[in-house]
């Protein structure tokens, strides 16, 4: 016999469902107001409420980095972040990095270096890199590898990802404002 795990009654559930919070975010430059269940993660808010499906769900548990987005310029795992805790923040997703056909330098470097295979980790990798560049902590290849270790790529495109990052780093050091602020 396998015991059931029912801890919420029908009424309680209905009550929980009825519970709603208002959150205001600036997403990819656009002010967005939403009424959501308070337990909604930023990842689900983006994907399910706004159809911004570029940000991926790989584990929903903070373990793979596929859901990485930028909140006020800092990279975070959207799956571990309750949207209501970021009320008033500026969120940048993969969709916000390019403008039409105009790609962000990291996106361009990814194509040039073939820094992806299946592409599923890619939006998270790219957002993570944009955050990394802003942090300005990565000086050596070793640093880059260490500071990117939260973004798992099972296709194993790491060598090309690192090469793409180094291309952007080199370029940024030549042209001080070559790096666009998200």
């Amino acid at each position: 016999m396998v015991a059931p795990h029912v801890d919420v009654s029908n009424d309680e559930h209905a009550e929980l469902l009825a519970c709603r919070s208002l959150v205001t975010l600036r997403i990819n430059g656009r002010e967005t107001k939403l009424t959501i269940a308070p337990w909604t993660t930023l990842l689900d808010l983006l994907r399910e409420h706004l159809d911004l499906t570029g940000t991926k769900k790989g584990c929903d548990n903070g373990q793979c980095g596929a859901c990485t987005v930028l909140v006020d310029g800092t990279r975070i795992n959207a799956c571990l972040t309750l949207a209501v805790t970021k009320d008033g923040s500026e969120v940048t997703t993969i969709e916000g990095l390019s403008a039409g056909d105009q790609l962000h330098p990291v996106q361009k470097a990814f194509i040039e270096r073939d820094a992806f295979q299946c592409g599923y980790c890619t939006p998270g990798q790219i957002c993570s890199i944009v955050g990394l560049l802003r942090e300005g902590r990565a000086k050596t290849t070793r640093d880059v590898r260490e500071l990117m270790s939260g973004n798992i790529c099972r296709c194993g495109a790491y060598a090309n990802i690192v090469a793409a990052i180094e291309d952007v780093l080199t370029e940024a050091s030549h042209t001080p404002d070559g790096e666009r602020e998200p």
Binding site: H13, G58, C64, D114, C118, G119, Y120, R154, Y158, A159
Partner: protein, 756 residues
Amino acid sequence: MKNRLIGTSVPRKEAFDKVTGRARYVDDVSFPGMIYGTTVRSKVARGRLRGIALGPGIPWDEFVVVTAKDIPGINAIHLINDDQPCLADGVINHPEEPVVLLAHPDKHLLEKARQAVVLDIDELPAVHSIEDALAKTAVVWGEDNIFKRYTIEKGDIAEAFANADVILEGHYETGAQEQLYIENNGVIASYSEEAGVTIWGSLQCPYYIQKALIPLFGVGPERARVIQLETGGGFGGKEEYPSMIASHAALLAKKAGVPVKIIYDRAEDMAATTKRHPSRTVVRAAVMRDGTVVGLDIDFAIDGGAYSTLSQVVLSRGLIHAAGPYSCPNVHILGRAVATNSPPHGAFRGFGAPQSIFALERHLDEIGKYLGIAPDEIRRRNFVKPGQTLATGQVVRDDVDMNVLLDRALEAAGWGDKKARFAVENREEGSVKRGIGLATFLHGTGFTGSGEKFLASIVGVEATADGHVRVLAASTEIGQGTNTIFAQIAGDALGVDYDVIQVGQPDTAFVPNSGPTVASRTCTIVGKLVETAALGLRQTLLGSGLLEEPYSSEQFVKACSAYVARSGELRAYAEYKQPPYIKWDEDTFKGDAYGAYSWAVYVASVKVDTLTYEATVEDFVALQEVGKVIHPTLAAGQIEGGVAQGIGWALYENVVWKNGRMANDRMTDYIMPTSVDLPPIRALFAESPYSYGPSGAKGIGELPMDGPGPAIVNAILDAVGIGIPRIPATPEVVMEAYLANTSVTRVCRATEVARG
């Protein structure tokens, strides 16, 4: 035909969509009215299902509930033996057996409902290891727990063992491995009486799913349509399992009357879906003092899990690769795939070959160590040469010289220098010891033996109204570059620019069956058909009077659209024809197991900390002969990615089993290499064109899974003198071997044969 695209690194076809987040994977897609599905699983390794109860606290009338009795046709996931039910009906054979399906518009409530279903199961004794399965501690499948048994015989093994100088025996084991594509398995299904079932999903083999849906629903192929969406990695893990999920979603959709989406979460995907088959191999080698291996007696067994699924095919590939690229004249190989009560193990890059290659390549180093012959030298004394035969009796036709490959790989790895340096450094105090090890191996391209003939794959190309050419094939892009490579091959066959070629979405309603996307067959076998079909289209166009040679890409496009305007359509097809020399006997395992092989030498440099027993790879050289490299960047990416997975299999990726279930079903507990854990991986290529591949290409994708395991463990032997018998060589495994002071005679039993 001149190569302008082949051999160059054109950008990936889907690059822009993948870097901008526009690529749509299954969980990014929804349909009006769509609801969500979930699976209630047995949680018990083996038992009899007495009843199903819907527990309290859930508004069950809002739910769609499906059990085995809702299946309109046959309750099986059609594959080879059809022994795996779609939904358990009375009998439970593993702890992730699907029993009940639920669907509801609210995912949160759905999860609560899943937990509220109560299964009444009487537990029965279960089997959880290869040894217990063979010993029949309980009979859990058929009469003897054996899914399949094959043997390979060559020469006279008894005589070889009677006359050898030394007989060495070794026992080797490899663990399960989770594919761990970053996109979990998932599908969307819709159903209507007119159209039947339609599936959209993350998958490798659309026609496998169609074949599974037909008997399950009792419909014809025209009412079972499968469409592949962008797929976030597969590595074999989306070869056969999607048939299960698609079947479940389709049953729910039929009953619900609206589309149903099922997306596994990470824990469910890790625990319930297929993994690499665990294996154990006993190698007995009859050897002469000079290192010549005169006899090989190999007992190879794999754990197939609860149902037979693809195990017999995995077994056969493991068996055929078990004797390696060596000319040993007397060989006996017994292969058995056994049943246990874990979820079925399945396809994973390499498909049985990495397991048997691990055992042989480890054993060669043990033999060398016993005889005092260096690892490279003992291999040189045994390499097969063109004109000689492999274990199945297949004559080597490939123009390959393993000695030359070995020289080049050793040079690239700095073998001699490192050997000398490590020998000195390792004598110094300090806990860190270094070593270097290698593995030499081959890997067959495409399906085994007559497999390709039976498949009789078809590929089409068609001209579009605007003059583009679209490739029509069921081969799926899963990150390995199918779309890009097909465009290169078709572009060169037609003599047009890369952008002129499009690759159609794999959809069983529109593309012919070009076979599954497995076994490194896409480029070689299907790619060759793309080339042939494209040449057919070109011929038609030249014969129509609309195009004359020489022509530019623009002229070709104009001629194409003029033809379509005039005649309505322009299509050409090509069907696989087996090369005439291939002769294979399925029953005796004799003959040409593969049309061609790729050949490789991999070298690993490793450091071992003798305080923490942690082994780390510091440098990796992967050299392979692959016929022709179609796309240098993609090819290198395939090798680097495969080696990364191979390193994971060798050192880190440890599936912890608890009563047949994966206990560490999270990415924090199942450790795989991240960007910091990987050494520089240097992928090197040699080219010796294969006349039946497009521009001479052979398979690449599976090769990198074969070499890292043995090369790394052989490097550990070099570093600390300890022969590790099993992988993953986690610190615990290394410590155990170290403390037991495993020497060659522990891993191998050496018998000095009395000579009369």
